[in-house]
């Protein structure tokens, strides 16, 4: 097998500093899952279409299967596990549960993170805008209505009261 360039990278993963050696061609998705055991990031297509592997990179939702691992050197990465302020479940998660937005749950990590990142930058959003914002995250189970209900309820009940 050919020798490949290895790089040492450090970044913050869910609030903890991490430093690892990776081959330059590795994707963030495979490093998170295979090297760091962050298996709450799921793989649905490995080609940037389904949104299942979404993580937050410095607060922005990205498909981790499209990000080369060296790119995150010095960055902040948040996965579903990291979205739990003070160890309590994030209120958005509670809305997903309460509104039946979780069926098989395979799209859930990516969906919650995409919704979270979008609502943070659009706290006054509408259902139609949410529909557009979630269009990059496929869900084969829910038909989307309950997902939108959950995020809409979060916008209405949690975001606007602050």
């Amino acid at each position: 097998m050919k020798e490949r360039t290895r790089l040492s990278i450090s970044f913050e993963l869910n609030g903890s500093p991490r430093r690892i050696e990776v081959e330059a061609h590795r994707t963030l998705l495979s490093v998170l899952r295979d090297d760091l055991g962050t298996v709450d990031v799921k793989e649905g297509c490995d080609e940037g279409v389904c949104g299942t592997c979404t993580v937050l990179l410095d607060g922005r939702a990205v498909s981790s299967c499209l990000v080369l691992a060296p790119r995150v050197h010095g960055a902040r990465i948040t996965t579903l596990l990291g979205l739990s302020p003070d160890g309590r479940p994030h209120p958005l998660k509670e809305m997903f549960v309460r509104h039946g937005a979780v069926q098989c749950g395979f799209c859930t990590p990516g969906m919650v993170l995409t919704a979270y990142a979008f609502v943070r930058s659009h706290p006054q959003t509408t259902r139609q805008e949410l529909r557009k914002a979630l269009a990059g995250n496929l869900c084969r189970c829910t038909g989307y209505a309950k997902l939108l209900d959950a995020v809409e309820a979060y916008v209405r009940e949690v975001c606007s009261v602050r």
Partner: protein, 773 residues
């Protein structure tokens, strides 16, 4: 006392309430370990070498180079498989129905019959090494003529997909009742149509995956995403092991929809782990999943329907032709569902159905949500629409007039013993569309369509289906359920918790469940055929009811009264006059006097023998779920583009155990059906799959579909616990027909081929306007 009577007395606590599912919390908190999330120390990576040819002989298969690569631990071909045949009769079922047995090779022997067929297996120290090993396997193919269209496959002289059979015909079913020719001749109107449906994929978001290891007790253990843990038997047969030396632990699935019903990775994992004696993990890529997994059957359906001026249906003649692809899998059964439901939820006195399913060198087709009872909806509901227009009748009126009633017979002779909700679902769905909305722009036309269906739930009665479950109290009064039910994401496990919690009066946070382990949970059959709520739901209900009786008997002794007087409520047992004893105390007493604190029960579904459909039969299915969908679409008269603006889906679910889960099934199923109607399509070019990624195989996004409005009816007459009916598959059937009918209503174009593509609509509009092609 029946469970329902008990509930009437104490009041319903959790059944019928939209309680959040326990697994939803696990999933949002990232506690659920799916199949690919699992690791074992010293694990190898397993991969499959697949044929790139749809039809070829294998001239040479040389694994020498691959085997000698450092880090490659095993390379297996058909010669290394102890018994290279997988029998795909009815997964997990103990009763065999002879002619329905079909076989596939675990690994291809002397020839390949579809693109993606497994040829060899490797296990290596890393993913990259495994990939390198695949590249190092030398295969020389000699392409042989294939056949890619079922009609051509039937013509004389067509290449045979399986040279040991006389023709490419895999199975044929017929249904005959009355005199169709005569009735059609006497009918006032006869409408005719030919309808075509396409290959589609399940496209669950979780690709096939699992990990296998040989446990310290010598048991081959496979942790896998599957709808059928009973495949442990298939793995054992392939390896030549006793069945009790193989264990399948099913994970929570990231979707199944029938695609994880046939064997996926488990046999490959079993072979590799058994040979290498090391843990092996296998995860299929999305490309692999889309390339090689069985699809939904494409159908060609020819219908002639006759009616009187009054709208009364008098006859229906149906010819069905389905593409089985290269191997049989469950095709004969899928076709049986299609031929026995081909007339829909309507009373038709004279019926002739001729159905055939044919081998081709296309990808195999097998189970998918709706299982043969859904393609025919596209045909019979457009026939109803054509009739309504021909007769100048309201579409709802025509359906209500012909709708089946309780006590009626289906064309197969089966008598409908439970409530048939046809008039209600049709009226409710249609009314819920509300007042018509004007088009949202120039060149746009608005139209509405309706489609009804019936979908069996539970297995064919010939299979003598059963499921069992164990329910017990722990000493602290919490409840544990053990049931071999795979949870595909529809809430199977949590419904069982609700049922046990209800009967035992225990709050849901004190009920937990172990599912889907062939060694440790009582077998419950497959999570398919919309059967688990009925089957395992009834088994849990029985076990819990029996357990309740044990406990109350002992409590009655302690309280010096009779069990009938007592209420079991969370932490204590009470008498009507306010005396009580704690549940923990009762359980201790049970232990002391030797009364069981658990119960095991088996539920047997209605059973029957195979019938001769030709001469009219009888009961084929336990029962049906009835539904109706109504939609409003907007069609662009210049581009043919279709937008679904409103969508209502109404089903009689008998009794909603968890209304939120029921709504979720209806919404998700309807959207899968809308995808089927408008965009999904596996494109094959002489057996070569052109749609092996999510960028070419398109499923609906949140922008492609409106919010589906679910309407839940509860007739209370289902065969499940508390009168529930199954709802997993039914909602996927009506969308294509409802949308096609709405498109006709909008622009006068009758779409007979799926998916409904805007180009086809635009071309038809152009021709309608008097231009020629």
């Amino acid at each position: 006392m029946s469970a329902r009577e008990v509930l009437e007395r104490v009041g319903w606590r959790v059944v019928g309430k939209p309680v959040p599912r326990h697994d939803a919390w696990d999933k949002v908190l990232a506690r659920t370990a799916y199949a690919a999330d699992w690791e074992m120390p010293g694990m190898l990576v397993g991969k499959v070498l697949r044929s790139l040819h749809p039809s070829a002989r294998i001239v040479r298969l040389d694994t020498e180079r691959a085997r000698s690569l450092p880090g490659v631990v095993a390379v297996l071909t058909a010669r290394d498989v102890p018994r290279n045949t997988l029998w795909t009769d009815v997964p997990g079922q103990t009763t065999e129905v002879g002619p329905l047995r079909a076989k596939v090779h675990v690994l291809a022997e002397e020839r390949v019959r579809y693109q993606g067929e497994p040829v060899a297996l490797v296990a290596a120290e890393s993913e990259e090494l495994a990939e390198e090993a695949l590249r190092a396997i030398e295969v020389e193919y000699d392409p042989v003529p294939g056949v890619f269209d079922p009609q051509e496959a039937l013509s004389p002289g067509a290449p045979l997909v399986h040279s040991d059979s006389k023709s490419n015909l895999l199975a044929r079913w017929t249904v005959r009742t009355g005199d169709v020719r005569g009735a059609l001749a006497r009918a006032d109107v006869v409408v005719e149509g030919t309808y075509r449906t396409q290959f589609v994929d399940h496209a669950y978001l979780e690709p096939e995956a699992g990990v296998a290891w040989v446990d310290s007790d010598g048991v081959l253990t496979i942790r896998v995403a599957t709808q059928v843990i009973e495949h442990f038997r298939d793995v054992a047969d392939v390896l030549g092991l006793p069945h009790n030396k193989v264990r399948v632990i099913g994970t929570y699935l990231g979707g199944g929809f029938g695609g994880k019903e046939d064997v996926t990775v488990e046999v490959f994992l079993g072979l590799l782990a058994w040979v290498t004696r090391r843990p092996v993990k296998m995860v299929w890529t999305r490309q692999e999943s889309l390339l090689a997994r069985p699809k939904r059957h494409p159908f060609v359906m020819r219908y002639r329907t006759g009616a009187l001026r009054t709208g009364e249906l008098v006859a229906q003649e149906v010819e069905l032709l389905a593409d089985a692809g290269a191997y049989a899998f469950l095709s004969a059964l899928v076709l049986l569902y299609a031929s026995t439901t081909a007339c829909g939820p309507y009373r038709v006195p004279n019926v002739a159905v001729d159905a055939q399913v044919v081998y081709t060198n296309n990808p195999p087709t097998s189970a998918m949500r709706g299982f043969g009872a859904m393609q025919v909806v596209f045909a019979y509901e457009q026939q109803m629409d054509r009739l309504a227009r021909e007769l100048g009748m309201d579409p709802v009126e025509l359906r209500v007039r012909n709708g089946l009633r309780k006590g009626d017979r289906l064309p197969i002779g089966q008598v409908l013993e439970t409530h048939v909700a046809l008039p209600e679902v049709a009226r409710r769905a249609w009314q819920a569309l509300g007042p018509a909305q004007p088009p949202s722009g120039p060149h746009l036309r608005v139209g509405r369509g309706l489609a009804c269906n019936l979908q069996p739930y539970g297995r064919i009665v010939w299979l003598h289906d059963w499921a069992s479950a164990w329910v017990g109290f722990e000493m602290d009064g919490s409840v544990l359920i053990r049931a071999g039910v795979p949870d595909v994401g529809a809430g199977q496990a949590s419904s069982l918790c609700q049922i046990a919690g209800e009967v035992l009066g225990v709050p849901l946070d004190r009920v937990s469940i172990h599912v889907s382990d062939s060694a440790l949970t009582p077998l419950a059959g497959t999570t398919t055929a919309t059967r688990q709520l009925m089957m395992s739901g009834n088994a849990v209900l029985r076990a819990a009811t029996e357990l309740r009786e044990h406990v109350l008997r002992v409590a009655a002794q302690l309280l010096e009264t009779t069990p009938v007087e007592l209420q079991l409520d969370g932490h204590e047992v009470r008498t009507p006059d306010g005396r009580c004893v704690s549940l923990v105390r009762v359980l201790r007493e049970c232990a002391r006097v030797g009364v069981p604190r658990s119960a095991f029960a088996t539920y047997h579904a209605p059973a029957g023998d195979p019938i001769d459909l030709d001469r009219g039969g009888g009961r084929v299915f336990p029962d049906f779920t009835y539904g109706a969908h109504a939609t409003e679409v907007e069609v662009d008269t210049e581009t043919g583009a279709i937008r679904v603006r409103r969508y209502v889906a109404c089903h009689d679910v008998g009794q909603a155990i968890n209304p939120q889960s029921v709504e979720g099934q209806i919404q998700g199923g309807a959207v899968m059906g809308i995808g089927y109607a408008l965009m999904e399509r596996v494109i094959l070019d002489a057996g070569n799959n052109q749609t092996t990624s999510f960028s070419t195989y398109l499923i609906p996004t949140s922008m492609d579909v409106p919010d589906v409005i679910p309407l839940v009816l509860e007739s209370g007459e289902g065969m499940g616990p508390f009168g529930a009916r199954g709802i997993g598959e039914p909602p996927v059937g009506p969308p294509a027909a409802a949308i096609a009918n709405a498109v006709y209503d909008a622009v006068g174009v009758r779409v007979t081929e799926l998916p409904i593509r805007s180009e086809a609509v635009a071309r038809a509009l152009y021709e309608l306007a008097g231009h020629n092609g």
